[in-house]
Structure formats: C-alpha cells, structure tokens
Symmetry: C3
Subunit: 139 residues, 3 copies
C-alpha cells in the first residue's frame, strides 16, 4: 500500500459544472498504483464537487438551473451578504453537494460508470482560480 498526492488548479470563468475527470485520471496514472481509492478534495467553501451525467450538456444545465431556483440569490433572510448576493447561496450549494468525492480504481483505471464524470461546481459568478487535491491510496 502506498499514498500518492497532487494538487491541481482550475480557472473557472463562470458559475456551473466544470469537468475534472481527465485531471483526476491523469493523477491516478502518475501514481502508478493499480487498485484502491482516489479521493478528490475541494478546499473551498463556495465551490464543490459532484458526480454527474457527462454526456448530455442539458442535464448539467437543468441541474444548475434547479439549484439556482432552490437557493435564490435574492433571499431577504440572508445576513451573510458581504461578498454579494451569490455569497450565501454558494455556501448552501456547497453544503448540499460535496467537498470530497472518492472513486475506486482497479487495473489503474477509475471504476466510473459509462455516463459518470467528476465535476468541480463553481457557485460564484465571477472567475476564480480553484484548487483541488487528488490523493490516491492503494497498491
């Protein structure tokens, strides 16, 4: 058993889902490990991770739209608004999804389903430079 760890960055030019499956698979390949778990971690509180359908862009648009309707920016109940109207909705959308996702791998390949991708979900409207940590545990 061994540990491999790498940090990647991704610039997000807009709110919404940004696929990072290839970056994660690339770090797994670099680890040289054959079987175990890859953990992806997002050290931010206004973006998050989610597994999602990766074939039809309309599925991602519908997911983003539904979350926008569930957590409207103009909620008069919010007190934490110092960074603008998308500040508190971003934290809530992060809490409803994940800061970490773990994916098993075998024969050096992620055991993802055919239609399954790993996405960094930017919840802020303005461009950000985001980091994620890929940790591979296995043999």
């Amino acid at each position: 058993m061994a540990v491999f760890q790498a940090t990647r960055t991704r610039s997000t030019h807009r709110a919404g889902l940004h696929e990072i499956t290839e970056e994660v698979a690339g770090e797994l390949a670099r680890s040289g490990l054959s079987q175990g778990i890859v953990q992806v971690f997002c050290p931010h509180t206004s973006c998050s991770l989610v597994m999602m359908e990766n074939a039809d862009p309309s599925a991602r648009r519908d997911l983003e739209g539904w979350f926008d309707r569930l957590v409207p920016a103009a909620d008069p109940n919010f007190e934490h608004t110092a960074e603008g109207p998308d500040d508190m909705p971003s934290h809530i959308k992060m809490a409803l999804t994940r800061s970490g996702e773990s994916i098993p791998f075998c024969d050096g390949k992620l055991l993802l389903g055919t239609w399954q991708g790993i996405f960094l979900w930017e919840h802020r409207r303005h461009p950000h430079r985001r980091t994620f940590v890929v940790t591979v545990l296995g043999e």
Copy 2:
C-alpha cells in the same frame, strides 16, 4: 495495509431505498481485514447511496416522499427529458445524496450506529439492475 475490492449487483423493482448493509458487511468479512475504511461506490447517475434510519419503514417513506415533493417530475423547466419525466429528477436526487459512502470498521465490524443502515436509492420508476463497488482499505 491491504486493499480488497468486490462488485455486487442489486435488482431494483421500484423507486426508493434498498438496504445493502448486509452485502457490504459480507464483503468486509470476506476481506479478512480488521481495521480501516470500507468505501461503497455507485457507478450510476440516476441512483445513489445514503445512510438512513433502518428500523422504522415510515422514516424511509417520509424521506422518499419529501424528495419527490422537492424535485417534482413534472417540472416544465427541465430540458433533459429524453428518458421520461423521472430522468432529470433522478440526476438531481443523486446529486443531493451520494455516489460514495465510507464507513470505518474495527475488529472486522462496521462501526455503524444502532439505527444506521446503508441504502442504495433507486430514483427511476422502472426496474433496473444496479451495480455497486465495495473497496476495503485496512489492515
């Protein structure tokens, strides 16, 4: 430290929660490992995993009913409807819950709470044959 990995299948005859705690515990027993983490992964985008109260069936029915009201099938905003009205709600319910759950174990036993079970949540109405991957990391 060692890795053990197994793939299981479960036929889901209806939408809702299907307990898989025994299958996961069975794979842990087969691993022969004593202490570490069991990770369960669901390689689908229209079903998911959730930890839930496993004693009173009404708690599971209330959870299913609440999610059905939160994400109604007949939402006119949805664009991704090729596979029917339960297509997009399934992806949303998956994103709101988990594709992976990790449970610690000690002395070869899952450290679950008294009322805690691991459930595969089928979000589609029609029967499906679902897969889940159990990975045990430990010693």
Copy 3:
C-alpha cells in the same frame, strides 16, 4: 501505510453547527502519520457532518435557517413523528448532508482551505451526547 482510529464524543446543547476541526486535527497529530486521508464518521441518523465557512458566524446561522425553511418541522405529510416534530426533519437534513467527510493531509497537517472547518451538525433541538469516529489512513 498504517491505520489509526479513535472515537470522540461531543455534547450538543442546541441544534446547529458545532465545529470539530480541532478534535480531528488532534487525532491526526496523535496518529503520527504524515500523508494520507483522515475520515470522520458520524454513527447517528439525526445529526450529520458538513464542511463549512468557519470565520463568520452569520454564514452558519444563514445555513441553519435556510435548512429549517427547506425542511419545516410542521410538515403534515410526515408519518414518522414518534419522537416529536424535529424527528423526521433531522433524518432529512442528515440525508442532505453527510455521515462521513474525508480530508487529505500532508506533512501531518489537514489540507483544509483557509476558511474551511469540519462541523458536526446537530439536527435535534434537545441536548444529545454524540459520537464521531476519526480514522487516519496514510504513511
């Protein structure tokens, strides 16, 4: 590679977020391990774990308030009410967040973001004594 595991308890005097970052960091230090993954697990079905902004208390109050409005206690649809009106909402809030959170570490330090803390979220109104399991996998 090695495994370290410890169980901690926390008394919750009120519903809401209770930060446990220091306890988790303390167990990581006790493990003596340098690089890998820390997994925190909550063996309860009416409280949960969440990563959240740890600087401004208003962000946590807004998150709690938003969840209370999303899952009102007085929902006449609920059948599972034996333990009171906050019984079923607690299970739902648990399902919407996490029973387990995993955080990578390097050089013996959690790779948390600047504003990121680990919180035990008590969903019941009355005081409870809660347990969480910290498992460290690494080298």
